[in-house]
Amino acid sequence: MNDTVMTAGTGTGDGPPELVPLNAIFATDFVRILVPVTTANTMREVAAAVAHHVEGKRVRALPYEKVVIYRGERLPAEMTVAAAGIKPLDHIAVEYDIPERS
């Protein structure tokens, strides 16, 4: 395995960020994985943290923004984990924001 400590970016927030381990799936990947983020991370950072383990490694990278889907809702890129109400052990999906064909 790569000799990497499992940490995520801390982002910015009012109080000290708290660790939020998530159950995450990236797009068409074959397995859900453990991805630790913090309450201060934005959805853009969360999507990047999940993609780090999969994009270009098992799922071909696509030239689109990545969005976080939580409880069936896509969340704004600048919203933080704390503001979204995402709790430790919650499930999120990260999908490419592929424009619908006209």
Partner: protein
Amino acid sequence: MALLKREEWQGFVRDVDWSYSYVDDEAVYPEWHSGTGKVPREAWLAWEESYKVSYPEYVATQREKEAAAYAVKAALQRSSVWEGLDEGWKSATKMHFGGVSLSEYAAVLAELKMARFGLNGAWRNMAVFGQLDELRHTSITTFFGHEFISRDPQYDWTQKAFQTNDWVAISLRNLFDAMMSSANVVDIALQLPLVFETGFTNLQFVALAADALASGDVNFANMISSIQTDEARHSQQGGPTLEILVEYDPVRAQWVVDKTFWASARALAALTGTSMDYYTPLEHRKQSYREFMEEWIIDQFVRTVEQYGLRKPWYWDEFLQGLDIWHHALHMGLWVWRPTIWWRPMAAVSRDERAWLAGKYPNWEKVFGDKWDVIIDNVNAGNVQATLPETLPWLCSTCHLPCCNATQSRGGTWRVRDFPLSYDGRTYHFCTKACRQIFWKDRANVNHLTLVDRFLAGQIQPMDVGGILGYMGLTPDVMGDDPDYQAWTRDYAGRPAEGIAAAAQP
């Protein structure tokens, strides 16, 4: 005095029993071990095995089997057969040795429990033979695996695996503790002899024996065939027990059979599915895992449950859909997390192998081919590092296997979906709907934390990859790696790469 003929004494001794005068029946057969439940105590008097054996007959037969198995081993020990075996096949045997040897010992304890707490004398006698069988299986499997330690340290996990906190070992302990150790004997008789041995050991022992012979591993085929000959006898403890339980408590009988079939199918998808469809060299594969499941497991299981008046399990559609997905995804998971296992998993996705997979599983390319293509491009770009994991797969709270079962939406999209459950103040995640249902109904019995649970609880220190591998007992000489990347990537060398793979190309 002349000896009595067999038929003159066997009817009497096979079910010797007596009424207790100093203690009551509950003291000898307590409910928590004997588990009669709604079945009246006297109903067990009708318990009768269909194939009757006496102890002298048992010993004579077993002696012959042992002599034959060890004679073949002794003869082959001086040959160079092992050196010529395919690395993929060797992986199938390492996985088997580590996964099975001490599982057989767990079965010794289960049989002993039935030999003591079984509710009929004939059942207890049959279980005595059963525990002797399982002790033989423990010994022969451990001994045959031991021979190769000097040539390859991964074989040391023949005895070690089951005692470690490796995630595969935790998954197996979780399965067998529920099936063999913590249950009462009525449930054990349904779980171990009826569902697991009548059904699923066929899968590992019959299917793999055929592949072993084709792969040139006569010794391994000899060992598992010898073991399999015992199963037919002691597995018959299940039928008479089910027959009586169904009459008095069909709901319990259905539940115990259903949950054990599911748990067994999940484990064998990882153990046998990967061995048959990936580790066995293409030219030696006899049947696909799905074909074998259909022929040996599904038809027989459905016939058996219907014969006893039970229904097909509630999850039947989900199970059948899983035959095209589970073991392929588990194979990819074992390959990606290869440093965490004690064998060398061959990816086995060359053009010819993929054509075979696509022929057997029409959705294979759609669901798995795209991921393997990205992995292949990374390997061909010299970027094997990108194929190695930096986090843990999420492990199902019921089967402890990675949550990796893609399902198709009505719109045709394949995705790995979440099956969560909020219970007792926390959120649990499951690989399938049936695993979630089984957890919910059996939640009072759940006593194993998954490796992910342990990690998040701070039981694994330091909380990094090194800490995780150390916790699982993996040492650098044992950690798995692909034995031959070239074998399955050379077909694709030179094609344009994209993304990370492209950036890594010289």
